[in-house]
């Protein structure tokens, strides 16, 4: 059984079909890419998997459980985390607070927060320690106490990844993590993503425009165009697929 199984998924907004009859499976431990030109429906797919949108038709299963239509916080608690295409940090909080919020979100206890028994203190110290070590692993240790909204863009993207991992997910969805990065930063990000998969035992789906970026990182690539899957397979095969080349040339986004 695949970790994530999307079957026959259709998403419509009024008359507009964003995703049409999509089938997609993500095996446990895999890194797969979702690529396609602007407006292809990539982000919409993430939004359905994370509960932001409901499927119009079809099913989404995670670890065998039907999750389509469940609220986002419940899906997060089941083990799916994400980042956003337009970074959505808690800008007014510090970097470490962003991570601590994610570490603590699923197990809050107001009465413990108010009464603060010794057990609460220990847990609070533990969470702080975990948050610090996570920031360290993403190279953000020095920014721990800086306001998230004031960080440089690249670091904001990394912090968003740290925050997502803090929810202890098994599946991580990254929406254009390399956007706005130069080639050397992209290279560093590629290595980071591969390392995070190992360290945290993650399965990763990442959205990207650039097939080259995903070449040696991903085992499989799925290509969407106008809401439909037009190709799927190892990156090498996919980038040579005439339909893929046409889809990119057709929209003028010559990335493939």
């Amino acid at each position: 059984m695949a970790l994530l199984e999307i079957e026959n998924l259709t998403v419509r907004f009024g008359g507009l079909t964003s995703i049409s009859k999509l089938d997609l499976a993500v095996e446990s431990g895999a890194i797969v890419a979702l690529i396609g030109p602007n407006g292809a429906g990539k982000t919409t797919a993430f939004n359905v998997v994370t509960g932001v949108y409901e499927p119009t038709e079809g099913s989404v299963r995670f670890e065998g459980r039907q999750i389509g239509g469940r609220p986002p916080h419940a899906i997060s608690q089941l083990g799916i985390a994400r980042t956003f295409q337009n970074v959505r940090l808690f800008r007014g909080l510090t970097a470490i607070e962003n991570v601590r919020a994610a570490l603590a979100a699923a197990r809050r206890s107001g009465s413990a927060d108010v009464l603060r028994p010794p057990r609460w203190r220990r847990r609070e110290a533990e969470l702080n320690e975990q948050a610090r070590s996570l920031l360290e692993r993403l190279g953000l240790a020095r920014e721990a106490d800086a306001a998230a909204g004031g960080l440089p863009y690249g670091e904001q993207r990394l912090l968003e990844i740290a925050r997502a991992i803090a929810t202890r997910p098994r599946l991580l969805l990254l929406d254009e993590p390399a956007a706005g990065m130069n080639p050397s930063e992209k290279q560093a990000l590629r290595e980071l993503v591969a390392r995070l998969r190992e360290e945290f035992g993650l399965s990763i789906v990442l959205i990207e425009h650039d097939v080259r970026f995903v070449m040696d990182l991903c085992e499989r690539v799925t290509v969407l165009d106008h809401g439909e899957k037009i190709a799927e397979g190892p990156p090498d095969t996919v980038r040579r697929d005439p339909r893929v080349i046409e889809a990119y040339l057709g929209t003028g986004g010559g990335a493939a």
């Binding site: 959505r88 808690f90 007014g92 570490l103």
Partner: protein, 332 residues
């Protein structure tokens, strides 16, 4: 609690007790009333700060929950509690009888307001946007008008917190100790609630509800929690008001009062507990000391708001706390 924690509590209790005994002797009754009102304003403002400042919602009917607390606790005292207080007073020395009784009256007001908060909050907070503002505004007006039509609590005449058939029960209490003990508890409870890892959920919802949900924060639930806790303390503030003034009238809980509380939290800095305390204290004292202004108070508030928005859009303290680390080390 740790040893230093207990020492802090004991020290606070001593200071409050000293205040309780001393202040009525050194202050004339007029100033004494102002000091009490400041305490009550602080409780209401700090509780509203949890909703408007920390959770990022916009409630503009907080006085409605004070009204619920004031009238329910007053009615409780007059119709139920007076008998108990009389019975307590027969076996216990005066101050002890009060200590045994008043928490009940305050809890009655707080719980009633919390229930009202739940009823208003659940439908209004499920939706994003300004529904809460509209719902709270409407609720405060409806409650006010409803009370005006209930004869058992005096209707338009107002309600006197005294029970004629229980001469042994003095329902009024003007104790500074009580008011400021409750204010202290409010501040400690709410700051502990928000300044903890779990409490980051409140600010996460304020900053970005979609992102908050994506890390597992049940946003609606968190908003309702904040709103119910805030309503509870607003109810307690109302209960204190009723019992310290000895008389309640719906005029005290009209829109102007709600608006005043919003001014306290905005001016103090949305997301700052000490800011709310400061603003509530200064702005409660100032108009009293500048009597004569009468209706101009409203103009003064509006001007103050405008000027603050221009000069310090983030409020007096922004989201910072005044000497909070110090406080936190003592209380934590």
């Amino acid at each position: 609690m740790s040893r230093s924690g207990w020492i802090t509590v004991a020290a606070c209790a001593l200071v409050l007790l000293a205040l309780d005994v001393l202040l009525p002797r050194v202050l004339n009754p007029y100033y004494a009333t102002i000091v009490i009102r400041i305490g009550i304003a602080v409780i209401a403002a700090v509780s509203l700060q949890l909703v408007n400042g920390f959770t990022g919602q916009f409630s503009i009917g907080h006085a409605g929950f004070m009204a619920v607390g004031a009238y329910v606790s007053a009615a409780f005292s007059v119709y139920v509690g007076a008998g108990w207080l009389e019975a307590f007073a027969a076996v216990l020395p005066g101050p002890l009888a009060r200590v045994a009784y008043y928490p009940m009256a305050l809890a009655a007001g707080g719980v009633a307001a919390a229930v009202a908060g739940l009823v208003v909050g659940i439908p209004a907070l499920r939706l994003r946007g300004d529904y809460l503002a509209i719902a709270t505004l409407g609720f405060a007006e409806v409650i006010r008008i409803a009370i005006l039509n209930v004869d058992a609590v005096g209707g338009a005449r107002g309600f006197s917190v005294a029970a004629a058939d229980h001469p042994g029960a003095d329902l009024r209490f003007e104790g500074f100790g009580t008011v400021y003990a409750v204010a202290l508890v409010t501040i400690v409870v709410i700051s502990r609630l928000v300044y903890s890892s779990g409490g980051l959920s409140f600010r996460a919802v304020r900053e970005d509800e979609v992102a908050a949900a994506s890390i597992g924060v049940p946003a609606t639930r968190v908003k309702v929690e904040a709103f119910v806790v805030a309503s509870f303390f607003a109810g307690v503030a109302g209960a204190l008001f009723a019992h310290s003034e000895g008389y309640v009238h719906t005029n005290s809980f009209a829109f102007l009062r709600s608006f005043e509380l919003v001014v306290f939290v905005v001016l103090g800095g949305l997301g700052s507990i000490t800011g709310a305390v400061l603003a509530a204290a200064v702005l409660t004292a100032a108009p009293e000391l500048l009597r004569g202004l009468g209706e101009w108070r409203m103009v003064l508030y509006s001007l103050l708001l405008i000027v603050t928005m221009l000069v310090r859009p983030q409020g007096l303290l922004g989201t910072r706390e005044l000497g909070f680390d110090w406080l936190r080390r003592r209380l934590g």
